[in-house]
Amino acid sequence: MIKIPLDARDMEHPIPLQLALKHLQSMTQEEYLYMIHRKNPIPLIELAKEKEFVYLVEQDKYEIWHILISKNQNIKLEELIDV
């Protein structure tokens, strides 16, 4: 699987959403988005849900959010998360 990294920790709203959406729209079955953010990006997760993407959201001990999203329904995101 090909990782699309997106470090949004220092980005001003709504740039993280803008970039993530761009990646999701052009994403192939072999790719997944790995985003790290200072906040839980709920609108992005809601959109991923609506569009039936698979996703995983977890906060690490430094309070950084890790968000993984993919089109591939068989992907095991919990094996790819780095928390």
């Binding site: 803008q18 906040k39 609108p43 809601e46």
Partner: protein, 424 residues
Amino acid sequence: MFNQGGLSMEQAPPVMVVLRFFVTASIFGVLLGVYIMGDIMGVVPTNEYSLSVIIVHLLALGVMASFMFGALFQMLPVIAGVVIKMPTKKSMVTNILLVVGLMAQLFAFQTSSSILYLTASILLGAGLLHASTLMLKELIDVKDHSSSSRGMLFALGSFVIAIILGVYMLLTLGGYIDGNLFSDIKIAHYSFALFGWITLLIISVSFQVVEMFYVTPKYPTVMSQYLTGAIFSLLVLKVVALFSGLGSSILDSLIALLFIIYAGVTIHRLYKRRRPTSDATVWFWRFGMAMLILSMSMILVSNLTGTKEPFIYISQISFIGFALSIVFAMVYKIVPFLVWFHLSNQGYMEAPMMFDVIHPKRAKVHFWIHISMILTWILSIPFINIIILLPILMIISFSWLLYHLVMAIKKYNYTQKFTEKIEW
């Protein structure tokens, strides 16, 4: 548009709900400039009373309430998780009653016609109460309040009080009820409208958006948790003091001090941005906060010296500068985002990016027009001859915004009509 409440596209109001209010506000801004120009040139028959109340209500209702209702229809679902059902219909009812009611009110102030005062009290009262109680009711039902949603509760509560007192005053002016308490009610009315509704709403929203938009450190917890409640309580105490025949200058000074502290903290937060970039909306925020400090300092000076003029006049103008600056900062963030977000989510790959909707350079130009307008207004106190520049700059300022809003709507419609949509 913010990432706290969990917004799905089904819950988000259509983009036109917000833009219609913003266009209405800009048109009223242009009208205000035209009215002031008419007064200066002597073509509008005015007396001192009608002139000031017409200017104040064009600004407070035509401009500010329209902008704020538009923003609230957009932000309540996101900031507070409140879903307003049938937003298009409900916002349209509010918008129409606000426009027609305000026009009736302005003509009532101009002509002192009893029937117009009655018409205004019914239409404006119904329109404003319709939207504010609708939002207030939904907010009261929220179980787990954030500092922003709690502050919005106090802001909308203040607005409901200000509207009811305003209706009382309109009916008194129309000769329908006895106006024994008119003077005290007038003070309570504008205190809740300006310091409760407008300022508390801006403060509540800032707790969420300043950190998110500009990647700043968080506000101190004691401030985000207790400031809005404390100011609302002080406003209630002020009204109690007024009706008990006691002076309210100590309470006024306390409120002013709290606003100064808040504005100082906000400016400090904006200087602590993690990635400072040149952005007109930050300039608007900084200028707005500086104006709030100036406005409140003038109240303190006036209270300390016991002298009203010119301090109160400077305070009023700088308060207008504060409120308009923050509103413009929000509009230049909200509109490009909404147009891009709605189109993008609908699958239009050629959706204009945010800077294509309204280019940041255009917002910078507006900032300089706006700052010139406010400074001209303040400087016209000692240099009365420059007052002619005020309506010209006001008309340019609101026309500039109106033009860009209309262009944003055109780009939105064009993309929907003439570009390809994908399923994703």
